[in-house]
């Protein structure tokens, strides 16, 4: 897994609550058997018009957000389907971190399995980031995982919680399977005493 340590980037705003994983990557694109190739289809129904040209009314198509690696969204971001294709698509679209007031559980976990950092800030902090990115051109924040802070050059200084285990995995770029394989003796022992049913 790729490391996530510190990221300074333009912020792209998506001011909608309950953005679900069906919107992030619609079902017709879930048929691939690879982890790649999803980025161009992210937000497909919102992002493109019927003839496949970019929808000028969709905010992430605006030139000022090109190259953004941070997305700020509404509450309950990533709700719905467990498809990991959603973080794969967002990552390929360029996003390494998403800021919101809340995330759906499975989506949040899926992000962290892919070197992406979901950042939960308070409503007023998210409102600030949202407003500044909507208003300005080239508005940037810095997300520092080590110090667990989000800052900008207009006085924002927000801190966020992250599970210490997940934090370490992201900082070091460790994947879970490798760590758990180190506990195979414990798993063997558990299986010895485990009964077929409860």
């Amino acid at each position: 897994m790729e490391k996530f340590t510190k990221l300074t980037s333009i912020v792209a705003p998506l001011d909608r609550a309950n953005v679900d994983t069906d919107q992030i990557i619609p079902k017709q694109f879930l048929k691939r058997i690879e982890r790649t190739g999803f980025g161009e289809f992210a937000f497909f129904d919102w992002r493109y018009l019927e003839d496949g040209v970019p929808n000028p009314d969709f905010i992430l198509n605006e030139e000022r957000y090109v190259g953004a690696n941070i997305l700020v969204g509404g509450r309950n971001f990533g709700s719905g389907s467990s498809r990991e294709h959603a973080p794969w698509a967002l990552r390929e679209m360029g996003f390494q971190s998403i800021i919101a007031t809340s995330f759906a559980d499975i989506f949040r976990s899926n992000c962290m399995q892919n070197g992406m950092l979901p950042v939960i800030l308070s409503e007023s902090e998210v409102d600030t980031v949202m407003a500044r990115s909507l208003r300005g051109y080239g508005y940037k924040v810095t997300i520092d995982l080590e110090s667990q802070t989000v800052t900008d050059d207009q006085g924002l200084n927000a801190s966020f919680d992250v599970d210490p285990f997940r934090k370490n995995s992201l900082l070091e770029g460790l994947d879970d399977v490798g760590i758990t394989m180190g506990l195979s003796e414990e798993i063997d022992l558990f299986e010895e005493k485990r009964t077929a049913r409860w």
Binding site: I33, E84, E191
Partner: protein, 469 residues
Amino acid sequence: MAKTMFEKIWEHHIVAEPEGQPALIYIDLHLVHEVTSPQAFEALRLTNRKVRRPDLTISTVDHNLPTDDTRNEEIKDPIARIQVDTLRKNCKDTGVVLYDIDSAAQGIVHVIGPEQGYTQPGMTIVCGDSHTSTHGAFGSLAFGIGTSEVEHVLATQTLRQAKPKTMEIRFNGELKQGVTAKDMILSAIGELGTAGWTGYVVEFTGDAIKKLNMAGRMTVCNMTIEGGARAGLIAPDDTTFDWMRGRNFVPKGDEFDAAVIEWRELATDEDAEYDALLEIDCELLEPHVSWGTNPGQVTGITTRVPSPTDFEDPADVSSAERALEYMGLTGGTQVEDIEIDRVFIGSCTNARIEDLRSASLIVKGRKVASSVRAQIMPGSTLTKMLAEKEGLDQIFKEAGFEWRESGCSMCLGMNPDILVPGERCASTSNRNFEGRQGKGGRTHLVSPEMAAAAAIEGHFVDVRDWETE
């Protein structure tokens, strides 16, 4: 110390709790389907790892399958065909059992797990599918995971999990005729919205839950994810054990009796405490219809579609504005006046034999409105066979329904069954997200009875008023 059912199952499955790490939980049953597994198997191959317990892993094909008469031909969509073939190859290479398209045990993964008796009380069950919560109806801790976690479970038969909080959702009173499990769960999600239960494992309790049959309990647990919960649970009781007895992979004879004694111990202790409580009065409950683009945007059949100004929270106001625009609805419209084009009775929420029986009672002796195309996709091949044995297919066909093959089908439209832009569908599935059933399609979530009645009338109707034979 008094414990909740969740705590009992959780503690029973802790493999390790290393300092500073989330608990490592053992997984008793891993369900696999074609969409969320290929990248996980591929990762095992690349890292030279094996499937640790193929004997605790089962798979089926459900998302991509056609439900029409091309069923037994090669899947036309080449990418879908590769995905299905990849699962076949992965199962063959790793020794995981596959219930393929030609098996009677094939079906939607959350229908066949219980149907075949794999799903049992006290188990931990995962699947790369959010509706894994369905299996909680048996008192098993069951939840959806992503593909990286699928890989983790394949390789280690364990999962790392932060311990969730617990919530009790108590359904008091009795359901009125025509009001169903679907209406219970839709109204509960409507109470707190689609993130209302995030971070919780929900246990459903109360008289109305105890009186539900297993299909109803599965409907309730199936949609706990739509309220954001990690999992839903219902204590196993005689209803559970009677339903399970005799199924393929359920213990037999004395072993079953012994198992039942153990399973009864799972129930939450009398003095145990939950972190949160939500109470719902079933006496007042009416059939529900979703009006918006998430499963929290629901209302009763006798009410009107809300207007954005009915909401206080600015995010709710803008959500309602967007939803009404997408759905082509105006606030203040009487729900009964909403006309529909399509009816879908299917999905892991409501395509079990009990659901089909309930819908058939509404349909019997009546005709589908000429303006409506109505389809039934049974939850599994076995369900379809059973329904045909009972003559349900004839009732539906005589009324003008299309009687199709099993699969996820139009719940998410990965196969060719989709809505065209602007089409409005009464659907027994679980998600009314924008584009879920096809780009521009408009989904209204309802019970099988309400979907059947809407098919007949061409618009939503209060099924409580209906006479059945």
